[in-house]
Symmetry: none
Subunit: 211 residues, 2 copies
């Protein structure tokens, strides 16, 4: 932790402590109270400094919407560290056109290392077992397990989307000047419009198939 004054380090340390305890950023007045400041402006000064130095960022005007941006774990992670995560696998759902198959809840669990999958442990991944053939042109077959990371999609990501109460896999297309839409990877399946009526549950990060 370079170029922070002692006081700034204390403030940052308290914030981290508070977040680990409460899962929320402390309010100005909570920080003020902790350090026995008489004014929230003292807090403001320190948070400004931390922001200027790149340790935190904020959404102006929103309550408790600072966040820590400095990645403290980037300095220490050895290359060969094993980081296996446990992923719930949910039941057979329609990967194709909605066809009335009911989600069957959790059917199993999968353990795999985060590097292979390309996800962060902190993002609560889940997996879906595919039913149907709407994504076969993307190499996702009936019976495959697709690992989903809850994260907003970018253009061309394969996403898990909730449509009419069912989770389905589609490719998310977001081209400039055009409303985003979802597209099957099978020429026999139609496109869906528009994305605004959908709920994106996450992006597909990996496929696991048992031969």
């Amino acid at each position: 932790m370079e170029n922070l004054t002692l006081r700034q380090q204390e403030i940052l340390g308290y914030i981290q402590l508070h977040m680990s305890q409460f899962d929320t950023w402390p309010s100005f007045r909570e920080i003020q109270s902790h350090f026995r400041f008489k004014s929230t402006n003292a807090v403001m000064g320190h948070l400004r400094a931390l922001e200027t130095k790149g340790y935190i960022s904020r959404v102006p005007g929103q309550a408790r919407s600072f966040r820590i941006t400095y990645d403290f774990n980037d300095d220490q992670r050895p290359e060969d560290a094993i980081d296996v995560i446990d992923i719930p696998v949910y039941g057979t759902i329609a990967a194709g056109y909605p066809d009335g198959v009911e989600p069957s809840g959790e059917i199993g669990r999968l353990q795999i290392d985060t590097k292979t999958v390309g996800v962060r442990r902190s993002r609560r991944c889940f997996a879906l077992k595919v039913s149907g053939e709407s994504m076969i042109d993307a190499g996702i077959y009936d019976g495959d397990i697709v690992i989903i990371e809850p994260y907003p999609p970018q253009n061309n990501d394969i996403v898990a989307a909730l449509i009419d109460g069912e989770t389905t896999l589609k490719r998310f297309i977001q081209e400039p000047g055009r409303a985003p839409f979802l597209k099957a990877e099978n020429d026999h399946y139609p496109e869906f419009h528009p994305v605004t009526e959908l709920i994106i549950q996450g992006i597909a990060k990996a496929v696991v198939r048992n031969l």
Copy 2:
């Protein structure tokens, strides 16, 4: 996820998504806006229900001070004993017609549970990273990782076979009254005869693809 209505699951899913993206709990009006409610009271109703059912908790009166309390990773069944194996991944080798690419030795490792892969721990599995397109009709693409179990093949198994010092993936065909042979899963690739000249290294048990 039991005893949640569909709508409640959607709300919880959105909250998780928002938190993974912004590191903050969404405000009532953010949830309201996302689901196109006309009133924050609709949000309130759902959050109350989620709280009553034990999925979230809150600090009354504080902004963005709900938190998720339900531990989604805690639902492990006792009978789901974790049996994660460590698998060496070998380098890019020709999955297709021999083309002169040298095996590059171990390029990484993969940890995954035995149940997902369908192997026994006692059989020293290894994995290959596929290069080429000879098995695309079997849904094995360039760049995929294929987990191989050293075990004699049966008809129609996909096998790793050593040909002229190089490992390649093929489908093993053994029909009655006919000598066994290997066959690509791509019509543009020829068959191989005979198997007696080959060394079968193992059978393919699973494919892992990072999207």
